[in-house]
């Protein structure tokens, strides 16, 4: 690797190389607006609505102008951590209920608040956060619930660590269990539900996982509630403590291997809100892909998913560092820019600010990146945003690849386990220089495959992010 390239890569750690392609703008919050963002919503008239961890809801007109105008739309909500607009109402989840609100008298402030569903008990533990809602194609609301840490002053509460589906009339159905700290939940453009979870006990690394009915995601704390008649599926047994993740799949039929692991520190520490790029190219060369905020690293990650053998899996890539504060929520504005709502309270983050609203915009210049990473029966296929330097790309020495997994166990997080190098047997570059097919040995089912790439674009520009992590849940046949 040339010294220049190394220097450039070093610079990339603070996002300065990324700046050329994606710029960060900061909302100058008016005096008195404490915007510890819990939920973000782009309103049709251009204003941005944000609900905060302090229970306030603000609408901000011209948020990135010199003088944004903020109006307190509501207050007194109980730590709302998500906002959606649906059927003429603003829907949000509080600690104790799914609710909706409306400005009936048209004075710019909500005056009607309706309880839709309060069917889950809460114990009064600070960590009993609820995330969402995400709205599915049938108009149901999905929320994910945190498990408590420490005392439960009002008794042990059911349905913690669950994905809950709630119909618009308030009927609640627990759909999946074993979640830990599922700080983001979203409905994909094709109608399936995904959530992000944070590393900890029974959760070897942070992850993105697909939610299907009856899934058990690994954390046993809340599964006592599966005795309840509301749980329509098999109650998961005790997880096999200390087992490698891929093996758990064989031991527990309902165990759900995540779609994508986010290796700790390499891909942030605390994934939160998620947003699929449905901007039709306004946000750059990654349409249909998923962007995820990170609350510690103050960054946005990128995820490319594919379905193999009925299982959603894929790769994650570093995308943009350098935000002022940990990101909790991401949402698209009307121009295809990514709004990032921030708060580091309670956990701390990089960036130096404790809260705020920023916006990530594509400059129009296409970075040289791995756009897609596909699993193939004998290896992987890389798809680039621009033609690659074919000489380097055809050289197997331009790639370093290893694989590892994690343990499902009680201690906080898991080390990378059973790490082994992979051999690149061949690298075949497509005639247009946009694709490379790699033949790799061994391919290990269920393992994270970590790529380090020493590649340049055909015009000599080094690759912007030289790492990628593919979680190989299934090997295509």
């Amino acid at each position: 690797m040339s010294l220049t390239l190394m220097a450039l890569l070093a610079l990339a750690q603070d996002g300065s190389r990324e700046e050329r392609y994606y710029t960060i703008e900061t909302c100058k919050l008016p005096e008195g607006v404490e915007l510890e963002v819990g939920g973000l919503l782009q309103l049709g008239d251009g204003r941005v609505m944000a609900c905060t961890r302090r229970g306030e809801v603000w609408t901000i007109a011209e948020p990135f102008s010199d003088a944004p105008l903020a109006v307190r739309f509501a207050q007194g909500l109980h730590e709302p951590l998500g906002l959606v607009e649906h059927a003429g109402w603003i829907w949000f989840v509080q600690r104790g209920e799914l609710s909706r609100m409306k400005d009936v008298d048209g004075d710019g402030r909500a005056d009607t608040f309706e309880t839709i569903c309060d069917a889950w008990p809460i114990s009064g533990n600070y960590h009993e956060y609820n995330f969402g809602p995400a709205v599915d194609r049938d108009g149901n609301f999905w929320i994910t619930t945190n498990k408590p840490f420490g005392d439960e002053p009002f008794g042990r509460a059911k349905w913690r660590g669950f994905a809950l589906r709630i119909t618009p009339d308030g009927t609640m159905t627990p759909m999946a269990c074993g979640l830990r700290s599922p700080a983001g939940v979203g409905c994909s453009p094709w109608g399936e539900l995904f959530y992000t979870d944070n590393q900890g006990e029974w959760c070897g690394a942070s992850k993105l996982a697909h939610i299907e009915p009856g899934d058990f995601h690994g954390h046993p704390w809340g599964t006592f509630a599966c005795e309840d008649a509301l749980w329509q599926f098999t109650k998961p047994g005790a997880p096999p403590d200390g087992t490698k993740m891929p093996e758990v799949e064989g031991l527990m039929p309902s165990f759900k291997l995540p779609a994508v692991w986010f290796p700790y520190d390499k891909m942030g520490r605390s994934p939160t809100g998620l947003a699929w790029d449905e901007t039709n190219g306004k946000f750059g060369p990654f349409p249909g892909q998923l962007f995820v905020g990170d609350q510690y690293q103050s960054s946005v990650l990128r995820v490319a998913l594919e379905q193999v053998d009925g299982h959603w899996q894929g790769a994650c890539f570093p995308f943009r560092l350098g935000f002022q504060c940990g990101i909790i929520r991401v949402a698209w504005d009307r121009e295809g820019r990514l709004l990032c709502g921030e708060s580091d309270r309670g956990w701390g983050s990089l960036g130096g600010k404790s809260m705020g609203l920023q916006r990530l915009a594509w400059t129009g210049e296409v970075p040289f990146e791995v756009r897609e990473l596909h699993a193939t029966p004998r290896g992987f296929e890389l798809v680039f945003t621009r033609p690659v330097d074919a000489n380097a790309a055809a050289d197997v020495k331009s790639y370093t690849l290893s694989s590892y997994t994690y343990l499902l166990h009680e201690p906080y997080g898991s080390p990378e386990t059973d790490t082994a190098p992979c051999e690149i047997e061949s690298a075949l570059v497509s005639p247009d220089g946009r694709r490379v097919a790699l033949v790799v040995t061994p391919l290990r089912r269920g393992y994270v495959h970590e790529f380090t790439l020493r590649l340049c674009a055909a015009d000599g520009e080094p690759i912007l992010h030289d790492r990628a992590y593919y979680t190989l849940g299934r090997i295509p046949k």
């Binding site: 207050q75 109980h78 608040f113 309880t115 009002f154």
Partner: protein, 884 residues
């Protein structure tokens, strides 16, 4: 006052063989003497044996001896019973053994000692560590909270400015002034004495030793100080650094000693950064450090902790950061004199993470960590006192019989003995009796022996002889004077030109803050005309509940027990306010704003001196005016405002008005011309109306309200904050209203939980760090709604929450249902004299088709909810007032 004091330090020389002295001469008692003699009879409890119906001689209740064996050593009991006057000069307790033959006397003494020691004892004095911080605290408290109003000071007032360390080693524990508390006060251990000081009325129901409202820590500190002579030969040793003690247990509050928990480990720390070794959860620490200040001034302190912590300086709570919470910072400020101080920090951890950080800011300095090397600790050891005493069951039994035989149970019920009915000659008959009896100079063969001089004996006989006078009921004036004398109110308060501490004793009466209030800031107030000044209901609160308005006085107004003060407030009123007509003016909310302006900077400037609802004045800390309407009588207030000097109470309050010459003569005008046309009478009225809002007053302009992070202030409109409500529900909402009356709502049970006035709420516990504190109102005396919602249903079903809407004033209207009945409930503020109240309004609707399955009643009144048909639905309405 000679008649009320009796006894001497040395036993009087009673010569049993001497010839009888001439019988005391009966004489007419002067008006001045008579009440004193009556009090003497009451104190000596003559009527406990000599029955009398006269209220003038009703015996005072004697000390309760239950558990006495756990409070006094056998040696102390022996010393006491052998000759009470020597053990405690001036005691009303007679010598009951004096008239027994010498041989029997010793036997009886031993029997009684065993019997009393068997009441929870015998007490043996154990070894005990003494911390110098406790000693310093006890030393300060003993001399400033009011003990020395009645008891002898232990040290010269000037010496109290110096720390114990500044004395030579041999003087640190020696009293500089001889103690005259009575030697048996010291025949006890720290815990027993502390328990007594904490609640003296439990043992001494007469109220002669009142409660100074000492908490556990303070009581223990004074006990340690009073028993300091027991610290062993090596005395007090000082060491650098902090002393810490580590405890284990499921604590819920941070306090030194953790309520007697076992010390698992103790040690020394060089500086207070980070916690010493501990288990992961459920533990507590207390840290003690002594420091010397060169500069007096206001010092700020912070603790940042997970879970709770508290910080005390010299036993005063400065930073309150208690309770289970994520890392939370709280601040406190205190004025400290130059010299020695003791800093104590306690913290506990329930579960999860744990932290403690302590910082301070000296006057003119930066906020910073507590400097290392600045703090010291020290202490000594009270030695065990070996005793050869062992309970003898036979002696205990005989002592039990002896107790009744000697007539002890005429005054003290104990063990199997009820209080005995009077069994000697009735008091009324004693006047005609020529014998000498228990007050005689010759010694009767039986009965108690009192240490009285001949003048006292003569006075007693004269009083008893005038049976008619004794039978006269007391006038109100007499009753009041009797109570004032019996409780020794004049030890601190002057009234009628008599009383208040003498010049020497007054030196011990201090102001807590550096308040430029002169003697008003350190001496208890005069009781002249107090019944005309204060509402008797307030006086009763002062006397019975410990209500106080002068936080700057170091000396504490004690509590005497409501049995001893229950009629006092009304007596003051009847004696002082006879003929005083209070003009009763209607409450007029329209004048409130004018009154508020007058109190502020653009008006008469009351804020220059007076505090308002807990907010400091711009100058001196004169009495908080939020208390005026509860305390002060209308007529007195008007007179005070019109002409402060006319009330003769030596106030520094200036006259407000200016004399102006007009064509029609000289008139008084207010300097605030724009308010109420500058007319003094109307301005006084406006101020009165404004102040009558009490704790729900909006603050005057010009006050500097300290900025508190996360403080929610409903000013322009209501403020709402969702929280976990301590003890009630995790689905709670705090609702703050600009009318300064607030409440908490429980969504889970669809009910109001608390209402309160004044400060609304600080959301730091919910909005700071990971937070999640269990919250409650910021005031101690929040009104708690009856449990259950506004409506009771039969059968009893749980309400279902449907959310809320905001009314035109943006106050919440809560919606919930009970089965088929849909309810809307609001709590609306209404300004009132004495503070804003809440009007609770409720509308219930039942669909026409739905047949009533539920019987609904209003919980506060028990009345059934009556539905009427209205626009196709059955509707019921109810409205009632809630006074927080």
């Amino acid at each position: 006052m000679f008649l009320t004091s009796f006894g001497a330090c040395a036993p009087p020389q009673l010569d049993i063989a001497a010839a009888p002295a001439p019988t005391a001469v009966l004489r007419a008692l002067s008006d001045a003497e008579r009440p004193q003699v009556e009090r003497l009879v009451a104190r000596l409890r003559c009527a406990a044996c000599h029955e009398s119906a006269s209220e003038r001689v009703t015996p005072e209740p004697a000390p309760d001896l239950a558990g006495i064996g756990a409070r006094k050593t056998p040696e102390g009991l022996r010393r006491w019973l052998a000759y009470p006057q020597a053990a405690k000069p001036g005691t009303a307790m007679p010598d009951l053994l004096a008239k027994l033959p010498e041989r029997e006397r010793e036997l009886a003494l031993e029997e009684l000692v065993h019997f009393l020691a068997a009441q929870g004892g015998p007490l043996a004095l154990a070894e005990r560590e003494v911390d110098v911080a406790e000693l310093e605290l006890g030393r300060r408290l003993y001399h400033e909270v009011g003990c020395v109003a009645c008891h002898e000071p232990q040290e010269n007032a000037a010496d109290l400015e110096r720390s114990l360390w500044s004395f030579p080693a041999e003087e640190r524990l020696a009293p500089q002034v001889a103690a005259t508390l009575g030697s048996t006060a010291f025949d006890t251990d720290v815990e027993a004495l502390a328990a007594f000081l904490h609640d003296p009325l439990a043992r001494h129901p007469s109220g002669r030793m009142p409660s100074l409202l000492l908490d556990q820590v303070e009581s223990r500190a004074i006990a340690i100080y009073l028993l300091r002579h027991r610290v062993g030969a090596e005395g007090l040793v000082k060491q650098p650094g902090w002393r810490y003690r580590y405890y284990e247990g499921a604590f819920t509050s941070a306090e030194p000693g953790f309520d007697g928990a076992t010390i698992v480990r103790a040690g020394t720390l060089e500086s207070l950064d980070g916690l010493p070794e501990h288990r992961p959860d459920r533990f507590g620490f207390d840290f003690t450090g002594l420091f010397e200040l060169e500069v007096a001034g206001n010092y700020a302190f912070w603790t940042w902790s997970d879970d709770g912590s508290n910080l005390w300086i010299d036993g005063r709570l400065v930073v309150a950061n208690d309770g289970d919470h994520a890392p939370t910072e709280r601040r406190g400020e205190v004025h400290l004199a130059a010299g020695s101080h003791a800093l104590v920090v306690a913290m506990y951890e329930h579960s999860g993470g744990e932290n403690l950080r302590v910082e301070w800011q000296p006057p003119g300095g930066e906020r910073q960590p507590l400097p290392a090397g600045f703090f010291a600790h020290g202490g000594g050891r009270m030695l065990a006192q070996p005793s050869s005493f062992a309970l003898d069951a036979a002696l205990v039994e005989r002592g039990r019989a002896r107790f009744a035989a000697l007539g002890c149970n005429a005054c003290h019920a104990l063990d199997a003995h009820q209080l005995a009915a009077p069994r000697a000659m009735p008091l009324a008959e004693l006047g005609a009796w020529s014998g000498d009896g228990c007050v005689g100079t010759t010694v009767a063969p039986r009965g108690p022996q009192y240490a009285l001089d001949s003048e006292q004996r003569s006075a007693l006989r004269s009083l008893v002889a005038a049976a008619d006078a004794l039978a006269q009921p007391r006038t109100d004036e007499e009753r009041l004077e009797h109570a004032l004398a019996r409780l020794d109110c004049r030890a601190c308060h002057p009234r009628g030109g008599v009383g208040g501490p003498d010049l020497e004793r007054a030196k011990y009466f201090r102001a807590l803050a550096e308040a430029d209030l002169g003697n008003e800031g350190r001496l208890p107030p005069s009781l002249d005309n107090v019944g005309a000044k204060l509402h008797s209901a307030w006086l009763a609160r002062v006397l019975d509940e410990g209500a106080r308005v002068r936080p700057y006085l170091a000396t504490r107004m004690p509590v005497y027990g409501s049995a001893n003060t229950d009629s006092l407030a009304r007596l003051f009123e009847r004696v002082d306010a006879r003929g005083v007509e209070d003009s009763v003016t209607e409450f007029d909310p329209a004048l409130v704003e004018a009154g508020r302006k007058l109190a502020g900077k653009a008006g008469l400037g009351c804020i220059q001196c007076h505090r308002f609802n807990g907010t400091e004045s711009l100058g001196i800390p004169a009495v908080d005016l939020a208390t005026v309407s509860e305390r002060i009588r209308d007529s007195w207030f008007r007179q005070l405002l019109w002409d402060p000097k006319s009330l003769g109470m030596n106030t520094r309050m200036p006259e407000m008005w200016q004399s102006i010459d007009t064509p029609s003569g000289r008139v008084q005008r207010s300097p605030a011309r724009e308010i109420c046309d500058g007319e003094p009478a109307r301005q006084i009225e406006a101020l009165w109306q404004y102040l009558s809002l009490g704790p729900s007053m909006p603050l005057p302009e010009g006050l500097v309200v300290p900025e508190r992070e996360f403080e929610l202030v409903p000013a322009q409109g209501p403020e709402l904050c969702a929280v976990f409500l301590r003890g009630h529900t995790p689905r709670g909402l705090m609702v703050g209203l600009p009318e300064q009356v607030h409440y908490a709502w429980d969504f889970e049970h669809a009910r109001a939980v608390w209402a309160w006035r004044g400060r609304f709420f600080n959301a730091g516990g919910t909005w700071n760090g990971r937070a999640g504190a269990l919250e409650r109102p910021p005031v101690e005396d929040a009104y708690e709604f009856p449990s259950g919602g506004a409506l009771a249903s039969a059968p009893d079903i749980a309400p279902r929450a449907h959310g809320w809407s905001l009314d035109a004033a943006r106050r919440p209207v809560f919606r919930y249902s009970l089965a088929e009945v849909e309810v809307e409930e609001t709590l609306e503020p209404q300004l009132r004299r004495g503070g804003a109240i809440l009007v609770r309004k409720l509308i219930a609707r039942r669909r026409q088709s739905a047949s009533p399955q539920l019987a609904l009643t209003l919980r506060h009144s028990g009345a059934a909810l009556e539905f009427v048909l209205e626009d196709g639905a059955y509707v019921a309405r109810a409205e009632w007032e809630v006074v927080p």
